[in-house]
């Protein structure tokens, strides 16, 4: 049988890949958004695994809402991205450093 621990470690790995993806990537911002999605999927896996092993649906319900939030977030994220593109003509991460210090 697959233990709970296996699922959790899997999601931990995915979670970390998501995190790493955010900060190692200097290409474009859209990848950042995708990494955020990855993080959320990892968390969702966590919740589902717990829910399954606890025999308690609350976790799954939570995932349901996380998916909703994620969708909304993507909508806004892409909107901002579009605005950025309109303003700077690029979505390169490096262009967004006029605010610093």
């Amino acid at each position: 049988m697959v233990s709970l621990s296996d699922y959790l470690i899997l999601s931990a790995v995915i979670f970390c890949i998501g995190l790493v993806g955010i900060f190692i990537n200097r290409t474009n911002i859209i990848t950042l958004l995708m990494c955020v999605e990855l993080i959320l999927v990892a968390v969702n896996t966590n919740f589902i695994a717990f829910s399954h092993f606890l025999g308690n649906e609350a976790g799954q319900i939570f995932v349901f809402f996380i998916l909703t939030v994620a969708a909304a977030e993507v909508a806004i994220g892409l909107a901002i991205l579009t605005l950025l593109f309109r303003n700077k003509g690029s979505i390169n991460v490096d262009v967004t450093n006029s605010l610093k210090g």
């Binding site: 995190l19 790493v20 955010i22 900060f23 190692i24 990537n25 200097r26 911002i29 950042l32 991460v93 490096d94 967004t96 450093n97 006029s98 605010l99 610093k100 210090g101």
Partner: protein
Amino acid sequence: MENIYLTIALAPLLGAIIAGFFGGMLGRKATHTITILGVLVSTVLALYVFNHHVLEKGEIFNQNLYTWMQIGSLNISVGFLIDNLTSVMLVVVSFVSLMVHIYTIGYMDDDDGYTKFFSYISLFTFSMFMLVMSNNFMQLFFGWEAVGLVSYLLIGFWHHKESAVEANLKAFLVNRVGDFGFLLGIGLVLAFSGSLDYAEVFSSLDNTTNQQLWGLDLITVICLLLFVGAMGKSAQVPLHVWLPGSMEGPTPISALIHAATMVTAGIFMVSRMSPMFELSDVALTVVMVIGAITALFMGLLGIVQNDIKKVVAYSTLSQLGYMTVALGVSAYSVAIFHLMTHAFFKALLFLGAGSVIVAMHHEQDIRKMGGLRKKMPITYWTALVGTLALIGFPGFAGFYSKDMIIEAVHFSSLPYAEWVYYAVVAGVFITAFYSFRMFFLVFHGKSRVDHHTEEHLHESAPSITFPLIALAIPSAVIGYFTIDPMLFNGWLDNAITIDAEKHVSMTELSNIFHGAAAMIPHAVQTLPFWMMVGGIATAWVFSLYRTQWADWVQNKFHRTNYALESLYGFDRFNEIVFVGGIKKLGNLLWKVSDMGIIDKIAVNGSARLVGFIGSVVRPIQTGYVYHYAFFMIFSLLIILTWVLFAGDNPLLQIEF
């Protein structure tokens, strides 16, 4: 009586205030009338008081006027102690002061600060009265400093003269060095006696037995500290440097303050403290030795001076040395006696010098004078009286006092007394030499006065000559009349304490004393007389008979001459070590320590450090979102590690 005492003190104060604040309105005549009147009242009353206390042997008056402060059981008051010592001092001070007031009318006639000057000298008279009438240390210090203040103001009276303002600062500061010791002495007095009142202090002297401080008896330390104060005020070596400089002030001031009264405050003070000084042979020896050094070496300096006032100033120093020697050998009354005679003849000499200076249109160099005898007869004769009194010509006032000092030293059993004896005897020769050198150069010989001045040369105004005459009389005779009662008939007994067993000078003196008249023939047989004669003769040779010899001697002994002309290098030493050194030190402390280390490094440095940290931390905020993310994740790592493995209770133990 109380009102009389009060009037003595306050009359000149009133005069000073009126002259000071309303002098401009009242005009010159009214101003000098009022101030002279004030001092005249004091003088008359002083004579009355003298009569009451000394002649009629009145009770000692000791009473507080008002409480200056009351702290716990300590009461510090302003009050009067009038005994015979005070009475004598009152007479001397008021009389000389009166003469100087009158003299000033003529002397300061053409000065803009006429009314101010009267205000100052009246204020001085008041301060001096307060000093001598004080019944406690605090008030003594008050008067002590007040006379210093007036002295400061008067030396710098001609404030446009750079040398004058230089001199007054120097005078004040050197006096402050003395006050430094004086104040500490007062502090120690308070510490052992719990009081500042003379009577209470003297009655609790037992408290000091067996107490040590700095390896000396407590009482010795106290006396020495107090004597440091006296050294400042009475210009004893090495705190004498201010006195010659103070001659920058107008001549009446030199007469009043820097010859007759203020400089003797130290002598007066030590006499006042005789019950304390008597307890310490060490202190007395120091006093004596310092006095001797001053008497001898300052006299020597008088020889090479060419400024008429400077010569008199150095003679003053030398005479103060004599007084101090007298104090040292416990002949307090002799010191006071010399103080008195000296006050008269030295004031006379100064005023005479002033008269000459006025006549010479403020030319003070004796090499540019000569032959004034004919032009200024009154001045000449009074100056002769003064000079004879100064050198101790038998019969004149100075003779009695100085002779007594020399004899007293002779009888002293203190260590080094022999050396001191030789010093004071040698001093007699020197005194005679420089005094007559000056006298001859000024009044005799060929005139070296320039033509322009020569034409206007004439005897001074009556307001100047009157004080000269009035002072010449006591200079001549006062010694004769007062030596007996003052020294041996107990005029000062109720003020002065002598441990007759240990210090025998006075007892011995009274044994050999057979009346004033008898002293004159006796003196002729003694060494000091011949020293004096030798001095006069030498002066005659060098200044009239063979003037070129003087140059020859100067060249021959150029090293000695150099030492003398550079005043033994005291001024130079002070200039370099104290003034220069302290300025350097001050700059060092200010620039290096204060501004550099404390302000720049510690204060601004820490501010800069914060700023520096800020500027180091700030670039972490690069503006790149991936940096931010990395920073967050990295922090997550740290926190996670810390929570899991660190702390008192690590959540996870790693097993290897």
